[in-house]
Every structure is written in C-alpha cells, then in structure tokens.
Amino acid sequence: MMLTELTIAAAQGGLRRREFSAEELVGAHVAAIDRLNGRLNAFITVTSEQALDAARRADAILAGGEDAPALTGIPLGIKDLFCTDGVRTTAASRMLEEFVPPYESTVTANLLADGAVFVGKTNLDEFAMGSANITSAFGSVENPWKRAGDDQTVLVPGGSSGGSAAAVAARLAMGATGTDTGGSIRQPASYCGIAGIKPTYGRCSRWGTIAFASSLDQAGPMARTVEDCAILLQSMAGFDVRDSTSVDVAVPDYRAACGRSLKGMKVGIPAEYRVAGMPAEIEAAWEQGIAWLRDAGCEIVEVSLPYTKYGLATYYIVAPAECSSNLARYDGVRFGRRVPGESLDELYEATRREGFGAEVRRRILMGTYVLSAGYYDAYYLRAQKVRNLIRKDFENAFRTVDVLLTPTAPSPAFAQGEKMDDPVQMYLNDVFTVPASMAGVPAMSVPAGLSQSGLPLGLQVIGRSFDEESVFAAASALERAASFTHRPAVRAEVV
C-alpha cells in the first residue's frame, strides 16, 4: 500500500484497524519530504524528529482503543504564518528569520488537540502577500505539476499558501493549513490540483496567526479531497475568546454535508465573472461545472453582482492599508531583525528596508499613502464604502440562490518569471477570489479538470456566511462528477 496516496478519511480507518502504524504513515511522508523538498522548497522548516516522536505517541493512543481523537497520527503541513510553540515561525520574511514563538496559535492548537502530527512549516509569499509564492525570503516554491510534454519549465504553485498547496499535491503531507486574505488558499489549490476552503470570516480564530489584513485574513484547510477539507475544518474551526472577530456559533458536521443531496439547490452563475479575455478553456471548465450541478439536481439561475469589477481595486486599497498598520510592529526594537542605526529613525528605516522584501515594502508604502492625511477619504474611506456595495451584491444574490459557481482563477499555473514585471498584472490572478474575501463569505476551490497544457483548473463555490455546509455539498458533487484522478509529475511515489 502506498501510504502517501491515502486520503485523510482512508488513513483514519486504516490507523484504527491497525493496517499500518502512525509511525509508518508519518515516516512515509517524512521520507518523501527528505527526497523532494530540496527541489520543491515547499517547507521552510522540516520537523521530522518531532513528527516521528508524535507519531509514536499517536500509536500508543491508537493501541489504547476507541477513544483516539479524529486526527491522531495524520501528518499535516502548517503554513509558516501560524505560530507554533517552540518551532521557528518566519512568515517567509527575513524580519522573523529567527523568531521562535513561545505559544501556539488557536488553529494549530485545535489540530494538535485532535491528534494531528505536524511534519513542518510550509513556505509562502512573504507575510502572505503574493499570488505566485515568489516573494518568500526562503526562495520560491516549485509547483509539482508540469505542462504536458515540458518537464523543464518551472511553474509557480500560486500564492500565498503555495508551499501548503505544493506539499499536499506532491504527497509530502496529507493536508495543510492555509490562510486566505484575497484568494491565498483557493488560487494555489486551483494551480496545484487540490481542494481548499476559505471559511466564513470569523469561523476560525486568527489568534496566533501572523496578521496581514485583519478584516480579511481567514485560516482554512487544504487537502486532496473535499471530504478531507471538511475533516480538517471541523478541527480548526470554533469560537475563541482571544479573537474579538471570532463568531460564537456552533460548528456543524461538515463531513456529513459532503454527501448531501443537491436536489432543489439553487446555484447562481454571476454574469460579471464572464470577464473579457477569459481563456476558452476556463470558460469551458465553468460550463462543464454548471452542467454537472444541473445533472445533480440543482436549479441554475443567472445572477448579477454588479460591483464585482471593483473588487480588486478595493482590495488593493483595504489590504495594503491594514498591512501598513499591522506591520508597523516590526520596527527592530522589541523582537525580530534589528539593523542598528545612529538614531532611532535610522534604526527603524534600516531594519525595515533590510527586513522586508520588495513586495511587502511596496504594499506598506501604498497603505501608508492611502491612510495619510489628505488622502484617507479619497482612497481608504471610498474603498470601505465600495466594499459595502460588494457585500450587498452577495447578500442580494443569496436571497435567490444557495451558492454561486465561478472559476477559481483566470488561468492555470504560469511559469516562474511570467507576470512579474508589473504588480497590477500579478494582482489580476485574484480577480475571482477577492470579492468573496471582501464580503467575508465562505468559498472553496475544487479541481475540475485539466487545461489543454495538462494543468489543473479549479472551480469555486461561494456560499452564504456560516453556510460552509452548502459549499461542501456542492463542491463534493463537482468532485464526484469530475472524478479528478490526475496526479502531478513530481510526487512522493515517483522515484
């Protein structure tokens, strides 16, 4: 049996039936990381020894009988934006190169309490700012997929959770945590042929997750099946008094929602997502998804979200503004990198020049400008008002439909070096994912098929606030219809 090929759901059963041990399961993934991480660079920090120790403890618990928590012995990757007690947490930044948190984030604490084993901290765009995982201070991540007939060109895994997506796609971990501010779970999931959900804003605690844009940041799971995402979100989600934006509502049984019938579900197709210049293969994947949901018993309804086209521009005011405020704490004084200076201002300026990469510096400067005296109303306040109109678009649509179906990204994975000269071209990768982030509603990417070049394409299901169940139901129906069994060229079992 190829242990690295199992789903989390299958491994849960296999561990409990003692078909294999947690040590064997974790060991198989650790061996795969040893062999492939030097190439893919999916992990910034690998914690093999801790993982194998945890696996042996998991085996002791599993040997004890029925009460083993749900994720006992399951090897996961953790995006290096979640603080992990005693394990270096860098945010892929030189600023935090040596930072070892003395505490555990709520999301990772929840996973640990459910028995999960962490095999390492996954690479990302610096401070989660990017769409290609090329801004990491620890080097870019290689997408394990290759274009058909071209095993040379290195493709990007998407971003910012690119290390998590690459690790799960290449079978270096069974699942991973991601964070999504404007598409950072969904777009890399689409580029790497896996599933990933950004839950409703407030569903997962942000406590202990390094902040980028606090009104948008939301943690979520990435895995190879919709059901595995449901299993992981079950553990990650929940109210937390330590996050003032955490919402105190019950977490339903997400796994049960995956098999739910779609009879009578109304699926909205937003006209505004048919953007000019959309590649025919993206359009075709979308049409195929519509047909699959119709066949599953859904009613397809054309809807309009007229403010969609302003989503990205609004995002690139709101997110940099919040980033400039959140990242003010990295000043070289109390923790993190320090570059000495003659005066205090020189210390600040030298530290922040050396500690931050070009994209992070650019976003801090943008945010500083749109919040500065004389420009606040023209940019930031206006963007907050447009954001409200975008949210109302979704509220209006969800009066008549249960979920929305769109493409996840406007293209398959592109090559390293493409789209890199102009920040605005890079930002356009998030055109379909940003609106749901602005509104705070849950959204999931699920693999739907391959492009003409043999690369995965994802479809996005967007739901009402706190109705991740309908999202899981529709996404699993798409997954069943697509029966996406394609695997990337670079993966654990390929020697």
């Binding site: 930072f99 070892v100 003395p102 505490y103 409703t200 804003y201 407030g202 009104s215 008094v241 003032s244 934006t245 955490s246 919402v247 105190d248 403010y307 302003y310 521009a313 609004t314 690139y316 005011i317 400039s324 000043d331 004084v333 109390r334 923790f335 993190g336 320090r338 005066s343 205090l344 201002d345 210390l347 300026e349 030298a350 922040r352 020049r353 931050f356 650019r362 801090i364 400067l365 943008m366 500083t368 400008y369 500065s372 306040l381 206006r382 963007a383 907050q384 008002k385 447009v386 954001r387 409200n388 109109l389 949210r391 102009d422 920040p423 605005v424 509104a439 705070g440 606030s465 706190f466």
Partner: protein, 95 residues
Amino acid sequence: MSLDPATVRRIARLARIGIDESDLPALQRELNGILGWIEQLNEVDIDGVEPMVGTGHAALRMREDVVTDGGARDAVLSNAPDAAGPYYTVPKVVE
C-alpha cells in the same frame, strides 16, 4: 493623481522604510501604476453608502476584568534581542 519623487520619499519616511535615491524611479513607476489602476473606484456612486468596517458578525463582548494569563516571564523574554536578567531591554526610544 500621480506621485512625484518627493511624495514617494515622504511616504517612505512616514512608513519608516529606508529607500535609496536609486530605488525612487522604479518605486514611483510601480506605485503610480497601482494608483492609476485603483482610480477606477472614482466612477462608483457612493452617496449615502456606509463604510464597511468589518463583516459585522462578531458582537463586541464584555468580560470580567480579571487576570487570565501570566507567569510567563521566561517565555516573554525568549525573543528579547538583549534581555538583561529578568528585564526586557530595548534601544533608547524616547529622545
């Protein structure tokens, strides 16, 4: 609206990010590119629209004014750049 080099220098100063004169042309070009692109929001009619501050699902909560955490001196000091015994020391920040 277009940023001139003096404005880029002023923003960098406000953000306390050191920039070299040689960085200025590229930064000015990139920031102006982004600003030019977000100008499209000017065509949106926002009369009477409330700004969206958060998603509004979480109500502000009250709690008892009691200590809920603490006794973690060594953990707090673990990332201090130059701790002196049990003290957290930093460069002089009040001039």
